[in-house]
């Protein structure tokens, strides 16, 4: 094997059960704001089936990812790439993987600021919001991996009350919107599942986190459990949305979840959705940090650089990127693009990698 083995000290490691929170956290991000209309466009009243389908695929991919990771006892995808494809092609793949995390980071922060500007502060400059978040990211990131993981843990528990708030819109539920069940063909259900790629990705950070898990054998269970939990959350949100909106309406709503919140009127809180939008920063902050950290792991293999320097360069690049996007339509195009990219990186690439790794192992044995 090549000299790309990682040196991980025990102090940097974390326990396997924590992975459950990390996975839940990274998967639930800005996508929740409006994934419903994307699925509905294809799968109509059977959208909830599409969600189940997409998570079945997620479980399969995680299974394959772990199979690949277990072939090497403690390495991440970056190292595996280098081992399988050599210096040049391997580094090229690593670069695209880093780029992918960067794009994900960019999409999350851009979507969040877009929602913030539309719903809460129409006359504020989006750059201001972005700078504020980036400062928070820098601050957290310099704390190291364990701080980021800790943030994931908090970020998992704090927003749970929102699920209870989502029971309020059921007052306006109309069960007819779910019928007739299974009236759409399998292809459109798959298309619906494909449309939410951007919303369900995030769990691929396991490929970068793996060397830092203490009990490697247990890691698998907690990742699968995390996926299961996210599926339940998404399924719940999707069902409430389907019951609440009529089909044509859902296709025209931009952020369905926020519109759901908008009808809730609590005695002490008239407009809860304004609060949830602001509160969402707790939801996305851990995600941003984990994505940035995953990119850092790759970068560190090419150029030895301190975490502090890396995050400063990284956020500066992201900031410049966000200056280029101005309108809602550009945002829509970018989201679609990110959806495609994430599908290929998260769902297609690990499969290919697995078969190549398997192939290589077989040949070496002979």
């Amino acid at each position: 094997m090549m000299n790309n083995k990682l040196q991980v000290t025990p102090a940097q490691m974390f326990n396997a059960p924590v992975l459950f929170f990390v996975i839940c956290k990274v998967q639930i991000g800005v996508g929740v704001y409006g994934f419903q209309s994307l699925v509905y466009e294809n799968a109509k009243q059977d959208s909830w089936i599409s969600i189940i389908l997409s998570f079945v695929v997620c479980h399969l991919i995680v299974f394959v990812m772990f199979k690949t990771l277990e072939m090497y006892d403690s390495n991440d995808f970056y190292g595996i790439n280098l081992d399988l494809f050599g210096k040049y092609l391997g580094n090229l793949l690593n670069l695209s993987l880093m780029l992918y995390y960067g794009i994900l980071f960019f999409a999350v922060i851009q979507n969040f600021s877009e929602v913030m500007v539309t719903w809460v502060f129409p006359d504020i400059d989006p750059s201001f919001i972005i700078i504020t978040i980036l400062l928070l990211v820098i601050y957290t990131f310099t704390g190291g991996l364990r701080v980021i993981i800790g943030l994931c843990f908090i970020g998992f528990f704090l927003p749970q009350w929102m699920l209870a708030i989502l029971l309020y819109p059921l007052e306006f539920a109309n069960i007819n919107y779910l019928f007739p069940i299974l009236d759409n063909d399998f292809i459109s259900l798959l298309k619906g599942a494909y449309a939410i790629s951007f919303t369900v990705v995030g769990f691929e950070v396991i490929t970068a986190l793996y060397p830092f898990v203490k009990e490697k054998r247990k890691a698998k269970i907690y990742v699968h459990l995390g996926l299961l939990y996210t599926m339940i959350v998404y399924l719940f949100v999707m069902l409430v949305t389907l019951l609440f909106f009529s089909g044509e309406q859902l296709q025209r709503v931009i952020w369905a979840t926020l519109s759901l919140f908008s009808i809730v009127r609590l005695p002490f809180f008239e407009r809860i959705e304004i609060f949830t939008v602001c509160f969402w920063i707790i939801v996305i902050l851990p995600n941003l940090c984990v994505f940035a950290w995953s990119a850092y792991r790759g970068f560190n293999r090419v150029i030895q650089i301190s975490e502090k320097k890396f995050i400063l360069i990284f956020t500066a690049l992201i900031f410049v990127g966000t200056l280029l996007v101005k309108t809602q339509f550009q945002m829509k195009v970018i989201n679609e693009l990110v959806g495609h990219i994430s599908f290929y990186t998260v769902f297609a690439f690990p499969l290919v990698l697995y078969f190549i790794a398997l192939f290589k192992k077989k040949i070496l044995k002979r």
Binding site: L135, N174, Y177, L178, F179, P180, S246, E248, Q249, R265
Partner: protein, 373 residues
């Protein structure tokens, strides 16, 4: 830069930056609680706003302002020219529309409201008989804050099943699909009071008809399942063979605590034909004192008469909605949900709707009749 030193620095930057956002100070903002729209000359929109001024020292003041402009936003801007404080619509509770505007179409007004993120999805919409402006600007002796008053009026009546729910979300939901139409409560100025006078029925955003307030509960029976309604019925006395000595032709009864559940069954997709079954459980609240329902047989007979009466009323209301082609009862949704072949039903539904047949069956059950026979 070690991390301990950097904390205060970040905090300082954050506080300085957070101070940059536009402040909204309550004393310097006036809150619009009610908006009224009317049709003005040249197809312009006349907006009337009830604005609540918050004053920390004195009691809050309610102010009414109006302006005429091409668009919703334009009218609000013109109103802003007339007020001393910045106007916010985040606390908007009710939007009223004049009858004339409603007949011309509300699509654009509803769309303007739903597009504005500042406006909640839960505000109530209603139609005013006559002009919204004159209803709002009139002086009422007992009403100090008309915005709050109209909101309470609509809100509690919906809760008591005396009006059909008409939140912006529901109206928009029924209006965006061609399978259903929406309805709004109608308000009317009655001397010193404002009352809910009935429901306005819409087709493609245009008001095409109305039902009086007595029919609201029947309409509600078709639209929703609900609990706790009250209904007054007139039954022909000849059919009620009780120990009666009265010679009047009609007798009035009132039933209370109505619990109603309905079931739609599509029996023929071509016509289309529905079986509508409504199960009612109720409490006999008022009946003429000479009449006594003393045994099982009489009870059954009374129930039969109640069924007959409600059935005929519901049939009449459905027929009326078919005549004016306004499907506020969401038969279209039921049709789509129960028929797998109904893929392109959206375009065709309104051609089918006037020919639709509905077989209404009501099963009323008088559970008890108070504490005295």
């Amino acid at each position: 830069m070690n991390s301990l030193k950097s904390i205060p620095l970040f905090m300082a930057i954050l506080i300085v930056l957070a101070g940059c956002a536009n402040r909204e100070i309550l004393e310097r903002t006036s809150l619009t609680t009610l908006l009224g729209y009317d049709l003005a000359e040249d197809d312009k929109l006349a907006a009337t706003a009830v604005i609540r001024q918050i004053n920390p020292d004195l009691e809050s003041k309610v102010e009414v302002q109006s302006a005429t402009e091409e668009t919703n936003r334009g009218a609000l801007m013109k109103i802003e020219l007339k007020t001393s404080k910045k106007i916010g619509v985040g606390q908007l509770r009710v939007a009223l529309f004049g009858e004339e505007l409603a007949k011309k179409g509300l699509d654009d007004s509803i769309h303007a409201l739903i597009m504005n993120p500042e406006v909640s999805n839960g505000i109530y919409l209603a139609v005013v008989e006559g002009k919204a402006n004159s209803l709002i600007e009139s002086k009422y002796k007992n009403i100090t804050d008309i915005g709050q008053h109209i909101f309470q009026l609509i809100d509690h009546n919906i809760e008591q099943n005396h009006a059909l729910s008409s939140t912006l979300h529901e109206v928009n939901r029924d209006n965006t699909t061609k399978l259903t139409n929406f309805s709004l409560p109608m308000l009317k100025k009655q001397g010193e009071f404002i009352e809910i006078s009935g429901i306005a029925l819409f087709n493609e955003g245009k008001m095409v008809g109305s039902l009086p307030s007595e029919d609201i509960l029947y309409a509600k029976m078709i639209r929703n399942d609900f609990q706790d309604g009250t209904l007054e019925l007139t039954l022909p006395s000849a059919t009620l063979k009780m120990e009666s000595t009265i010679s009047e032709e009609d007798i009035q009864i009132a039933i209370d605590s109505i619990k109603s559940t309905r079931k739609f069954k599509l029996v023929d997709t071509a016509v289309p034909e529905f079986n509508l079954t409504i199960d009612i459980e109720c409490l006999l609240q008022e009946i003429q004192s000479e009449l006594r329902v003393s045994d099982m047989k009489e009870q059954k007979n009374l129930e039969k008469q109640i069924n007959k009466k409600i059935e005929s009323e519901i049939k009449r209301i459905i027929q009326y909605s078919q005549e004016i082609d306004s499907d506020i009862f969401r038969f279209g949704e039921q049709y789509r949900a129960q028929n797998r072949q109904a893929k392109n039903i959206n375009e065709r539904w309104h051609e089918m709707y006037p020919d639709m047949k509905v077989n209404v069956t009501v099963n009323a059950k008088v559970l008890r009749d108070g504490v005295f026979q």
